[in-house]
């Protein structure tokens, strides 16, 4: 295997491990404080980390300029992603939350790609991809029914 591919694969794996730990930590925080306070703490921690990095990199000028407000809304949506994850993790566990979320994500991005929504490069759904979506839908169904 190519050395860089091995390194980047290891990084991707680590990122996945970190996501599972993060989702668990956030769920625990929501349980030991409250769903609402946890949202503030989580965003504050992220903002502080991102701010420190900007200061270290000397990128503190013109942070908000030159971008349409709509494209800033990803962060606002992130609040609801975290709220939903916290609710789900504490009720159906980490495995099911992350499994089902991935299916929702892939199907939504497939639809956006098919129609070319939100500035996504338009690429029509090809016949060859349908079994992939069916497998994922089946996986989600098995999780929901027998999970």
């Amino acid at each position: 295997m190519n050395k860089n591919l091995a390194k980047n694969t290891a990084l991707a794996l680590m990122s996945g491990i970190m996501i599972a730990i993060m989702v668990t930590a956030n769920g625990m925080l929501a349980e030991s404080t409250s769903y609402w306070i946890s949202l503030i703490i989580i965003h504050f921690a992220g903002l502080a980390t991102a701010g420190i990095v900007l200061i270290v990199r000397k990128e503190t000028r013109d942070i908000f300029g030159g971008i349409h407000f709509v494209y800033m809304l990803g962060g606002a949506l992130g609040v609801f992603t975290i709220l939903l994850n916290n609710l789900c993790v504490n009720n159906i566990g980490v495995t099911m939350t992350l499994g089902l979320a991935l299916v929702g994500q892939i199907i939504a991005s497939g639809i956006a790609e098919h129609f070319g929504w939100l500035g996504v490069h338009r690429k029509k759904l090809s016949f060859g991809k349908i079994p992939a979506y069916l497998l994922m839908a089946a996986g989600a169904a098995v999780m929901i029914v027998w999970g």
């Binding site: 860089n4 599972a20 993060m22 930590a25 625990m28 030991s32 900007l54 609710l87 996986g139």
Partner: protein, 142 residues
């Protein structure tokens, strides 16, 4: 059933965020983009929390042994940096497959540690989702 639906919805939300953030990152760069993300997030989270709780947030008591539960936001930031670094090099779908393997394996471990059952249904479902994802990578290449 309700929570399963909410988990799917969370994924849809992630997909929309990724599309918006791609544009944001392209204009402002990765580091400013991530900062704007958390800033907007806090701008929504703070009033939302105050309104929902009727301006009574209560106090926060976290013992020293569970301080790590405060780090979720920082871990999320690091994940964004890593993913942005590797995605152009090995492709979004390949990243998603490997990420998913890491997530689900660790997630199952976390569930077991927390005493949450990891049933045959969950494992079978996760494997089917993984199979679909790998199929999608192959179909995308053709």
């Amino acid at each position: 059933m309700l929570y399963s639906f909410l988990a799917l919805l969370s994924g849809v939300n992630v997909a929309v965020s990724i599309m918006l953030n791609a544009r944001l990152g392209a204009v402002k760069g990765l580091y400013k983009g991530a900062f704007i993300n958390y800033f907007l997030g806090l701008c929504v989270a703070l009033p939302l929390a105050l309104i929902v709780t009727g301006f009574r947030l209560g106090s926060v008591k976290i013992s020293l042994s569970e301080l790590f539960i405060l780090t979720g936001g920082s871990i999320g930031y690091l994940v964004v940096l890593i993913n942005n670094n590797i995605t152009p090099k090995i492709g979004i779908l390949y990243v998603t497959v490997i990420l998913f393997i890491g997530q689900i394996a660790t997630g199952a471990l976390m569930d077991i540690l927390a005493g949450e059952p990891v049933s045959i249904g969950k494992i079978t479902g996760a494997l089917l989702i993984l199979a679909g994802l790998i199929y999608l990578v192959k179909a995308e290449k053709e």
